[in-house]
Amino acid sequence: MTALAVSNVVLWILVLLLSVVVLALVRQLGVLHERIAPAGALMLNRGPAVGEPAPILEVADLEGHAHRVGAARADGRSTLLLFVSPTCPVCKSLLPAVKSSGKDERAWMDVILASDGDTFEQRQFVRSQGLDGIPYVVSAALGLAYQVGRLPFAALLDEHGILRARGLVNSREHLESLFEAKRLGVASLQEYFSGAL
Protein backbone atom coordinates (compact mmCIF):
# COMPACT_ATOMS: atom_id res chain seq x y z
CA MET A 1 0.00 0.00 0.00
CA THR A 2 2.83 2.40 0.80
CA ALA A 3 4.45 1.57 -2.53
CA LEU A 4 1.20 2.51 -4.26
CA ALA A 5 0.92 5.73 -2.29
CA VAL A 6 4.51 6.70 -3.09
CA SER A 7 4.04 5.90 -6.76
CA ASN A 8 0.86 7.98 -6.75
CA VAL A 9 2.58 11.00 -5.27
CA VAL A 10 5.50 10.66 -7.69
CA LEU A 11 3.06 10.41 -10.59
CA TRP A 12 1.22 13.53 -9.48
CA ILE A 13 4.50 15.44 -9.30
CA LEU A 14 5.45 14.26 -12.79
CA VAL A 15 2.01 15.10 -14.21
CA LEU A 16 2.26 18.57 -12.68
CA LEU A 17 5.71 19.10 -14.20
CA LEU A 18 4.45 17.84 -17.53
CA SER A 19 1.54 20.27 -17.44
CA VAL A 20 3.91 23.15 -16.71
CA VAL A 21 6.08 22.11 -19.66
CA VAL A 22 3.05 21.88 -21.96
CA LEU A 23 1.91 25.35 -20.94
CA ALA A 24 5.40 26.76 -21.50
CA LEU A 25 5.56 25.12 -24.94
CA VAL A 26 2.17 26.46 -25.94
CA ARG A 27 3.18 29.97 -24.87
CA GLN A 28 6.37 29.66 -26.92
CA LEU A 29 4.29 28.52 -29.90
CA GLY A 30 2.18 31.65 -29.62
CA VAL A 31 5.27 33.85 -29.45
CA LEU A 32 6.84 32.04 -32.41
CA HIS A 33 3.75 32.55 -34.52
CA GLU A 34 3.87 36.24 -33.77
CA ARG A 35 7.57 36.54 -34.54
CA ILE A 36 7.91 34.50 -37.68
CA ALA A 37 4.88 35.37 -39.67
CA PRO A 38 5.82 34.66 -43.28
CA ALA A 39 7.27 37.60 -45.20
CA GLY A 40 5.50 38.51 -48.41
CA ALA A 41 6.85 39.85 -51.67
CA LEU A 42 7.46 43.59 -51.50
CA MET A 43 4.78 45.52 -53.35
CA LEU A 44 5.71 48.70 -55.15
CA ASN A 45 2.93 51.15 -55.75
CA ARG A 46 3.15 51.35 -59.47
CA GLY A 47 2.36 49.26 -62.46
CA PRO A 48 -0.86 47.34 -63.03
CA ALA A 49 -3.05 46.87 -59.95
CA VAL A 50 -3.76 43.47 -58.44
CA GLY A 51 -7.23 42.25 -59.31
CA GLU A 52 -7.30 44.05 -62.66
CA PRO A 53 -6.69 42.55 -66.08
CA ALA A 54 -2.99 42.44 -66.93
CA PRO A 55 -1.79 44.15 -70.12
CA ILE A 56 -1.91 41.73 -73.05
CA LEU A 57 1.38 41.52 -74.92
CA GLU A 58 2.53 39.38 -77.83
CA VAL A 59 6.08 38.23 -77.17
CA ALA A 60 8.40 35.53 -78.47
CA ASP A 61 10.82 33.52 -76.37
CA LEU A 62 14.39 32.67 -77.30
CA GLU A 63 13.24 29.43 -78.92
CA GLY A 64 10.96 31.44 -81.19
CA HIS A 65 7.65 30.32 -79.65
CA ALA A 66 5.00 33.05 -79.44
CA HIS A 67 3.31 33.82 -76.11
CA ARG A 68 0.28 36.00 -75.48
CA VAL A 69 1.15 37.17 -71.97
CA GLY A 70 -1.86 38.49 -70.08
CA ALA A 71 -4.50 36.92 -72.34
CA ALA A 72 -7.18 34.64 -70.90
CA ARG A 73 -6.12 31.01 -71.31
CA ALA A 74 -8.40 28.32 -72.59
CA ASP A 75 -6.52 25.57 -70.73
CA GLY A 76 -7.28 27.23 -67.36
CA ARG A 77 -3.64 27.56 -66.33
CA SER A 78 -2.07 30.49 -64.52
CA THR A 79 1.18 32.17 -65.48
CA LEU A 80 4.05 33.25 -63.28
CA LEU A 81 5.94 36.01 -65.00
CA LEU A 82 9.39 36.44 -63.50
CA PHE A 83 11.61 39.31 -64.54
CA VAL A 84 15.32 38.50 -64.28
CA SER A 85 18.57 39.70 -65.76
CA PRO A 86 22.01 38.12 -66.30
CA THR A 87 23.53 41.03 -64.37
CA CYS A 88 21.42 40.58 -61.23
CA PRO A 89 23.08 38.36 -58.61
CA VAL A 90 19.90 37.87 -56.54
CA CYS A 91 18.19 36.48 -59.65
CA LYS A 92 20.83 33.75 -59.92
CA SER A 93 20.33 32.69 -56.32
CA LEU A 94 16.55 32.72 -56.81
CA LEU A 95 16.55 30.60 -59.97
CA PRO A 96 16.81 27.17 -58.23
CA ALA A 97 13.74 28.11 -56.18
CA VAL A 98 11.94 29.19 -59.34
CA LYS A 99 12.75 25.90 -61.05
CA SER A 100 11.57 23.77 -58.14
CA SER A 101 8.47 25.93 -57.54
CA GLY A 102 7.67 25.67 -61.24
CA LYS A 103 7.90 21.88 -60.89
CA ASP A 104 5.85 21.78 -57.66
CA GLU A 105 3.11 24.03 -59.04
CA ARG A 106 3.10 22.68 -62.59
CA ALA A 107 -0.44 21.34 -62.12
CA TRP A 108 -1.90 24.81 -62.38
CA MET A 109 0.85 27.20 -63.39
CA ASP A 110 3.43 27.90 -66.11
CA VAL A 111 6.57 29.92 -65.55
CA ILE A 112 7.76 32.50 -68.06
CA LEU A 113 11.07 34.26 -67.48
CA ALA A 114 11.36 37.75 -68.88
CA SER A 115 14.41 39.87 -69.41
CA ASP A 116 15.69 42.73 -71.46
CA GLY A 117 18.96 43.51 -73.21
CA ASP A 118 21.54 41.82 -75.39
CA THR A 119 20.20 38.51 -76.77
CA PHE A 120 23.64 36.82 -76.88
CA GLU A 121 24.21 37.53 -73.21
CA GLN A 122 20.72 36.20 -72.41
CA ARG A 123 21.40 32.95 -74.28
CA GLN A 124 24.61 32.49 -72.34
CA PHE A 125 22.72 33.15 -69.11
CA VAL A 126 20.08 30.54 -70.01
CA ARG A 127 22.78 28.01 -70.80
CA SER A 128 24.86 28.64 -67.67
CA GLN A 129 21.85 28.57 -65.33
CA GLY A 130 20.27 25.52 -66.97
CA LEU A 131 17.03 27.27 -67.86
CA ASP A 132 16.21 25.20 -70.95
CA GLY A 133 12.60 24.16 -70.86
CA ILE A 134 11.42 27.40 -69.28
CA PRO A 135 10.24 29.96 -71.84
CA TYR A 136 12.66 32.89 -71.75
CA VAL A 137 11.35 36.11 -73.24
CA VAL A 138 13.54 39.08 -74.10
CA SER A 139 11.26 42.09 -74.38
CA ALA A 140 11.58 45.67 -73.22
CA ALA A 141 7.83 46.21 -73.68
CA LEU A 142 6.97 43.57 -71.06
CA GLY A 143 9.13 45.22 -68.43
CA LEU A 144 7.67 48.61 -69.27
CA ALA A 145 4.09 47.32 -69.11
CA TYR A 146 4.59 46.02 -65.57
CA GLN A 147 6.79 49.01 -64.63
CA VAL A 148 9.52 46.75 -63.34
CA GLY A 149 12.08 48.88 -61.53
CA ARG A 150 13.96 46.35 -59.48
CA LEU A 151 14.78 42.70 -60.03
CA PRO A 152 13.87 39.93 -59.47
CA PHE A 153 10.24 40.92 -59.93
CA ALA A 154 7.37 38.46 -60.22
CA ALA A 155 3.77 38.78 -61.36
CA LEU A 156 1.19 36.03 -61.05
CA LEU A 157 -1.59 36.01 -63.66
CA ASP A 158 -4.61 33.75 -63.34
CA GLU A 159 -6.34 31.84 -66.13
CA HIS A 160 -8.48 34.88 -67.06
CA GLY A 161 -5.46 37.10 -67.45
CA ILE A 162 -6.19 38.92 -64.17
CA LEU A 163 -3.14 40.01 -62.17
CA ARG A 164 -3.43 38.10 -58.87
CA ALA A 165 -0.22 39.06 -57.09
CA ARG A 166 3.01 40.83 -57.85
CA GLY A 167 6.10 42.07 -56.10
CA LEU A 168 9.81 42.03 -55.60
CA VAL A 169 10.86 38.45 -54.83
CA ASN A 170 14.23 37.84 -53.21
CA SER A 171 13.66 34.36 -51.84
CA ARG A 172 11.57 31.26 -52.15
CA GLU A 173 9.46 32.55 -49.26
CA HIS A 174 8.60 35.70 -51.21
CA LEU A 175 7.90 33.67 -54.32
CA GLU A 176 5.56 31.32 -52.50
CA SER A 177 3.83 34.27 -50.86
CA LEU A 178 2.48 35.09 -54.32
CA PHE A 179 0.90 31.63 -54.60
CA GLU A 180 -0.52 31.98 -51.09
CA ALA A 181 -1.87 35.44 -51.90
CA LYS A 182 -3.67 34.03 -54.94
CA ARG A 183 -4.98 31.07 -52.96
CA LEU A 184 -6.20 33.26 -50.08
CA GLY A 185 -7.66 35.82 -52.48
CA VAL A 186 -5.68 38.77 -51.15
CA ALA A 187 -3.37 41.19 -52.94
CA SER A 188 -0.42 40.34 -50.70
CA LEU A 189 0.44 38.39 -47.56
CA GLN A 190 1.07 41.71 -45.81
CA GLU A 191 -2.57 42.61 -46.43
CA TYR A 192 -3.66 39.20 -45.16
CA PHE A 193 -1.70 39.52 -41.92
CA SER A 194 -2.69 43.12 -41.25
CA GLY A 195 -6.28 41.96 -41.59
CA ALA A 196 -5.78 38.90 -39.42
CA LEU A 197 -4.04 40.57 -36.49
Binding site: V15, L16, H33, F179, A196
Partner: protein
Protein backbone atom coordinates in the same frame (compact mmCIF):
# COMPACT_ATOMS: atom_id res chain seq x y z
CA UNK B 1 -23.14 10.52 -4.83
CA UNK B 2 -19.59 11.41 -5.78
CA UNK B 3 -16.30 10.82 -4.06
CA UNK B 4 -15.22 13.77 -1.89
CA UNK B 5 -11.74 13.86 -3.47
CA UNK B 6 -13.20 14.16 -6.97
CA UNK B 7 -15.78 16.66 -5.76
CA UNK B 8 -13.21 18.83 -4.00
CA UNK B 9 -10.96 18.74 -7.06
CA UNK B 10 -13.79 19.93 -9.32
CA UNK B 11 -14.87 22.56 -6.82
CA UNK B 12 -11.28 23.82 -6.45
CA UNK B 13 -10.69 23.99 -10.20
CA UNK B 14 -13.96 25.85 -10.85
CA UNK B 15 -13.33 28.18 -7.92
CA UNK B 16 -9.98 29.07 -9.51
CA UNK B 17 -11.64 29.60 -12.88
CA UNK B 18 -14.40 31.89 -11.58
CA UNK B 19 -12.19 33.87 -9.20
CA UNK B 20 -9.50 34.46 -11.85
CA UNK B 21 -12.18 35.49 -14.38
CA UNK B 22 -13.67 37.89 -11.83
CA UNK B 23 -10.26 39.39 -10.98
CA UNK B 24 -9.48 39.89 -14.67
CA UNK B 25 -12.70 41.88 -15.05
CA UNK B 26 -12.29 43.80 -11.78
CA UNK B 27 -8.84 44.99 -12.86
CA UNK B 28 -10.54 47.12 -15.50
CA UNK B 29 -14.23 47.59 -14.73
CA UNK B 30 -14.52 50.37 -17.30
CA UNK B 31 -13.06 48.17 -20.02
CA UNK B 32 -15.45 45.40 -19.10
CA UNK B 33 -18.42 47.79 -19.21
CA UNK B 34 -17.44 48.65 -22.81
CA UNK B 35 -17.18 44.98 -23.73
CA UNK B 36 -20.54 44.37 -22.07
CA UNK B 37 -22.15 47.14 -24.12
CA UNK B 38 -20.46 45.89 -27.29
CA UNK B 39 -22.26 42.55 -26.97
CA UNK B 40 -25.47 44.55 -27.66
CA UNK B 41 -27.78 42.18 -25.81
CA UNK B 42 -29.16 44.36 -23.03
CA UNK B 43 -30.23 48.02 -23.15
CA UNK B 44 -27.50 50.57 -22.39
CA UNK B 45 -29.06 51.43 -19.03
CA UNK B 46 -28.49 47.87 -17.84
CA UNK B 47 -24.86 48.05 -18.95
CA UNK B 48 -24.20 50.35 -16.01
CA UNK B 49 -24.77 47.31 -13.84
CA UNK B 50 -22.07 45.33 -15.67
CA UNK B 51 -20.00 45.22 -12.48
CA UNK B 52 -22.53 42.68 -11.23
CA UNK B 53 -20.98 40.08 -13.57
CA UNK B 54 -17.55 39.91 -11.88
CA UNK B 55 -19.26 40.23 -8.49
CA UNK B 56 -21.40 37.22 -9.34
CA UNK B 57 -18.36 35.31 -10.61
CA UNK B 58 -16.50 36.04 -7.39
CA UNK B 59 -19.48 34.89 -5.32
CA UNK B 60 -19.75 31.66 -7.32
CA UNK B 61 -16.00 31.04 -7.00
CA UNK B 62 -16.00 31.47 -3.24
CA UNK B 63 -19.37 29.76 -2.81
CA UNK B 64 -18.07 26.58 -4.45
CA UNK B 65 -15.56 26.16 -1.64
CA UNK B 66 -18.10 25.97 1.21
CA UNK B 67 -20.23 22.88 1.70
CA UNK B 68 -23.51 24.67 2.34
CA UNK B 69 -23.38 27.01 -0.62
CA UNK B 70 -21.82 24.52 -3.07
CA UNK B 71 -24.98 23.35 -4.85
CA UNK B 72 -26.32 26.89 -5.22
CA UNK B 73 -23.00 28.25 -6.44
CA UNK B 74 -22.67 25.35 -8.89
CA UNK B 75 -26.10 26.04 -10.37
CA UNK B 76 -25.44 29.79 -10.58
CA UNK B 77 -22.04 29.16 -12.17
CA UNK B 78 -23.55 26.82 -14.76
CA UNK B 79 -26.25 29.40 -15.53
CA UNK B 80 -23.56 32.08 -15.94
CA UNK B 81 -21.55 29.88 -18.32
CA UNK B 82 -24.63 29.04 -20.39
CA UNK B 83 -25.47 32.75 -20.52
CA UNK B 84 -21.96 33.53 -21.84
CA UNK B 85 -22.29 30.75 -24.42
CA UNK B 86 -25.65 32.18 -25.52
CA UNK B 87 -24.25 35.73 -25.71
CA UNK B 88 -21.35 34.52 -27.87
CA UNK B 89 -23.61 32.35 -30.06
CA UNK B 90 -26.09 35.20 -30.64
CA UNK B 91 -23.32 37.58 -31.67
CA UNK B 92 -21.76 34.95 -33.93
CA UNK B 93 -25.21 34.53 -35.52
CA UNK B 94 -25.20 38.27 -36.11
CA UNK B 95 -21.93 37.75 -37.98
CA UNK B 96 -19.84 39.78 -35.54
CA UNK B 97 -16.68 37.73 -35.62
CA UNK B 98 -14.46 40.61 -34.53
CA UNK B 99 -16.25 41.26 -31.22
CA UNK B 100 -13.86 41.17 -28.24
CA UNK B 101 -14.90 38.29 -25.97
CA UNK B 102 -14.08 40.12 -22.74
CA UNK B 103 -12.24 37.11 -21.40
CA UNK B 104 -8.60 36.80 -20.41
CA UNK B 105 -7.97 40.18 -18.84
CA UNK B 106 -8.24 43.80 -19.95
CA UNK B 107 -5.31 43.65 -22.39
CA UNK B 108 -6.28 40.50 -24.24
CA UNK B 109 -8.32 41.46 -27.29
CA UNK B 110 -9.58 38.18 -28.57
CA UNK B 111 -12.45 37.88 -30.97
CA UNK B 112 -15.33 35.60 -30.01
CA UNK B 113 -15.40 32.19 -31.66
CA UNK B 114 -17.65 29.17 -31.81
CA UNK B 115 -15.28 27.06 -29.74
CA UNK B 116 -15.77 29.44 -26.80
CA UNK B 117 -19.51 28.78 -26.76
CA UNK B 118 -18.94 25.01 -26.85
CA UNK B 119 -16.26 25.29 -24.16
CA UNK B 120 -18.68 27.15 -21.88
CA UNK B 121 -21.40 24.55 -22.39
CA UNK B 122 -18.89 21.79 -21.59
CA UNK B 123 -17.78 23.61 -18.43
CA UNK B 124 -21.41 24.12 -17.39
CA UNK B 125 -21.90 20.36 -17.78
CA UNK B 126 -18.85 19.67 -15.63
CA UNK B 127 -20.43 21.77 -12.87
CA UNK B 128 -23.37 19.33 -12.62
CA UNK B 129 -21.62 17.05 -10.06
CA UNK B 130 -21.60 20.05 -7.69
CA UNK B 131 -25.33 19.45 -7.21
CA UNK B 132 -24.77 15.88 -6.03
CA UNK B 133 -24.17 14.98 -2.38
CA UNK B 134 -20.72 13.67 -1.46
CA UNK B 135 -19.96 10.23 -0.10
CA UNK B 136 -18.89 10.40 3.55
CA UNK B 137 -15.57 8.65 4.12
CA UNK B 138 -12.45 9.34 6.17
CA UNK B 139 -9.99 11.54 4.26
CA UNK B 140 -6.35 10.42 4.08
CA UNK B 141 -3.19 12.36 3.29
CA UNK B 142 -3.24 10.93 -0.23
CA UNK B 143 -6.55 12.72 -0.80
CA UNK B 144 -4.85 16.05 -0.15
CA UNK B 145 -2.30 15.22 -2.85
CA UNK B 146 -5.08 14.21 -5.26
CA UNK B 147 -7.07 17.38 -4.63
CA UNK B 148 -4.15 19.79 -4.66
CA UNK B 149 -2.24 18.36 -7.61
CA UNK B 150 -5.42 17.53 -9.52
CA UNK B 151 -6.66 21.12 -9.23
CA UNK B 152 -3.28 22.52 -10.30
CA UNK B 153 -3.03 20.17 -13.29
CA UNK B 154 -6.59 21.00 -14.35
CA UNK B 155 -5.78 24.73 -14.20
CA UNK B 156 -2.52 24.33 -16.15
CA UNK B 157 -4.16 22.20 -18.83
CA UNK B 158 -7.01 24.68 -19.11
CA UNK B 159 -4.53 27.52 -19.65
CA UNK B 160 -2.63 25.48 -22.26
CA UNK B 161 -5.78 24.60 -24.19
CA UNK B 162 -7.00 28.16 -23.96
CA UNK B 163 -3.74 29.48 -25.42
CA UNK B 164 -3.67 26.83 -28.09
CA UNK B 165 -7.24 27.46 -29.26
CA UNK B 166 -7.18 31.24 -28.93
CA UNK B 167 -3.69 32.16 -30.09
CA UNK B 168 -2.08 29.41 -32.07
CA UNK B 169 -4.86 27.69 -34.03
CA UNK B 170 -6.38 30.81 -35.63
CA UNK B 171 -2.96 31.76 -37.03
CA UNK B 172 -2.07 28.37 -38.43
CA UNK B 173 -5.49 27.43 -39.80
CA UNK B 174 -5.28 29.53 -42.99
CA UNK B 175 -1.69 28.46 -43.66
CA UNK B 176 -2.34 24.77 -43.25
CA UNK B 177 -4.09 23.91 -46.48
CA UNK B 178 -1.41 25.32 -48.75
CA UNK B 179 -0.60 21.96 -50.32
Amino acid sequence: MIDPAVGAMLAGAFALLFVSAALDKLRSLQGFAEVFRAYRLLPDGVARLSWLVPALELTVGVGLLARRSRAGAGAAGAALLVAYAAAIAINLQRGRRDLACGCGGPHARRPIAAWMAWRNLLLAGLLAPMLLPWIVRPMAAADAVTIGAGTAVAALLYMSLDRLLAQVTPRTAPLRGSR
